[in-house]
């Protein structure tokens, strides 16, 4: 996961995801996949390739373009004995299928005082940077983290692509599992040893500025750590819910400085929550203000040049780290 080239023999993120689904389906018969072209077609990004052949069309189910219907059906199936992994092809498409996530999966366990369990994984992906346009580039993890009853997971490494997916399927709760398509081709260590959800990881140690991030921005932060004259400690949150503030607080207590980085729009994004919590809890220990870097409040443009203008990159992160160090 460092920015140094990895040997080509390791696994790709996309294969780790497939392997995660395979592991989950092998260990539990009740796990089924639902989504548009996840079956015979192997997925529009080839993530589910091979699973249809291996597990058959009863467990790897192609759906029509009816997200509200099949996502809702996934929730109904989860209440009644299956453990579905439901794919929402692009995160932006939650606009047509939010109700089953927001009002059903997130709430029915609570509203029945635990009588219903809803073990479902909503797999989706996001990721700007390839000119997919404003309707195919949004990172909306903050929305889901704001809804009580949903877990929100964003694997940033090849290992986690497998491990967090298996952990998400094993979890008895609804999990929004957010991949980043710019990571699909990345190579790294295959995972095999799922931890429970909710443990952040110190991806790189440092002692001057703590950088908290998740998803594909991790790569940018690691590159920034390589480039920067400041010593950056990079923390990969892995999940927003559960949120491992302990790891964050422990690090900032040492460094005295915090930068939160995410690809999502900065305004009213998840970074605000982390920043607000740390600024509160470590009020007396912070040497400098907590800073955030996210995308400016602009729909993502098609133009590659304009997209680059907006997305937080390694250089900006490195510079922000240095600026913090200079401040105090």
């Amino acid at each position: 996961m460092s920015s140094v080239a990895e040997p080509q023999t390791t696994t790709r993120y996309i294969d780790a995801l497939a392997q995660g689904m395979r592991t989950a389906m092998q260990e539990d018969e009740r796990v089924v996949l639902l989504g548009i072209d996840v079956g015979a077609g192997g997925g529009i990004f080839t993530v589910t390739r091979g699973l249809h052949e291996e597990f058959g069309s009863e467990r790897v189910i192609d759906t029509p373009i009816s997200e509200m219907g099949y996502v809702g059906a996934g929730v109904g199936a989860a209440m009644t004995g299956l453990r579905p992994i439901v794919e929402i092809m692009f995160m932006d498409f939650v606009g047509v299928c939010l109700d089953p996530i927001l009002n059903q999966a997130a709430k029915l366990g609570y509203m029945t005082a635990g009588a219903l369990q809803i073990p479902i994984v909503f797999r989706t992906q996001t990721g700007a940077g390839r000119s997919a346009g404003a309707q195919h580039s949004q990172s909306l993890e903050a929305w889901f983290a704001h809804v009580p009853g949903l877990k929100v997971v964003m694997p940033a490494t090849v290992t986690d692509a497998h491990d967090l997916l298996v952990a998400a399927v094993r979890d008895p709760n609804p999990v929004v599992f957010i991949e980043n398509r710019r990571l699909y081709g990345m190579r790294g260590q295959a995972g095999e040893d799922p931890l429970p959800l909710g443990q952040a990881r110190v991806a790189r140690s440092g002692d001057e500025v703590t950088v908290v991030t998740w998803g594909q921005s991790l790569r940018e932060c690691l590159s920034a750590a390589d480039e920067s004259s400041a010593s950056l400690e990079v923390i990969d949150l892995r999940s927003l819910v559960p949120l491992d503030m302990e790891t964050v607080i422990a690090s900032v207590r040492r460094t005295g400085r915090l930068l939160v980085v995410h690809e999502a729009v900065q305004d009213f994004g998840a970074g605000g929550e982390i920043a607000a919590r740390v600024a509160d809890e470590l009020f007396d220990e912070l040497r400098t203000p907590v800073r955030r870097i996210g995308t400016p409040s602009v729909p993502m443009p098609f133009s590659p040049e304009l997209e680059r203008t907006l997305l937080p990159g390694a250089a900006a992160i490195a510079a922000a780290g240095e600026a913090l160090l200079a401040e105090g």
Binding site: G72, G109, T112
Partner: protein, 328 residues
Amino acid sequence: MHAVTSQHEPPPAQLRRNLFASMALIRAFETRVAELYRDGDIPGFVHTSLGQEAVAAGVGLALRDEDYLATTHRGHGHCLAKGVDVDGMMGELFARVTGLCRGTGGSMHIADPSHGVIGANAIVGASLPLAVGAGLSSKLLHQDRVAVAFFGEGAVNQGSFHESVNLAAIWDLPVIFVCENNIYAEFTDSRAMTRVPCVADRAAAYGIEAHTLDGNDADVVYAATAAAAERCRAGEGPILLEAETYRWHGHYEGDAQPYKPDDESLAWRDRDPLTIAEARLVHDDTATAEELAAVRADAGARVDAAVEAARAADVPAHEEAFQHVFSR
């Protein structure tokens, strides 16, 4: 009203008595709930199903205990007919710990998975995808269970209707879509919201069988549901039943219904489902008027007892607010 046909055998005598008893219980329950709500004893929103008892009873009694049922904001009758406990329901309406959901759900969210009721839903149209998912579970887990989705004719204009019926059709799922066509959706005459005279006609778009039924005749509804369930269990896929009926009270308790023509209301009151059943039972000597009066009185007493029990029960303790957000 639309032409109504029933091509099924009438149910046997004992069953017809049970149908009457079920309707009597619903009538007593809803009548009492309306009073309690008027008097401020029940919080939140309440939507009663007075006048629609035959649909609930006919469907509920045609199902097995383990069959699934997803219902709506107007779901008390459906639950009662499916065998859900009266005390648990009343306790829930009173928001007591004896409630089926320990007071977290309320009138619009009564659920009892132990009798297959996977939730009442305050989102119009949300019951349908959930029932499709339950049908999917039943099919994939080879469980021989049928899933029923209740919804009103107003919900037919939701996209989730379209997507759900189509999904059940292409996957040949054991789902019975029961539309209670009570003519109104809130204050709106639903006939103004479609060019098509009846909901069953709209099923043609999905290539599934559909019947329009006299929803005030419990025998008819029972027979049609029993036949549909049999079809479902034989693996022949979904079916839509449109039960024509009428909502006696306002959309919610307190709604004065200025939008309804008087003669229409009166004509439907003349078609009281309990009176229809009563007349027939007495006429063909299946029961005496006295026996039926006793059934009604028993139902009233049962509901009274439930009210007393609910009043006497505790409200949930402060800490309960924080339980069951996630399952463990």
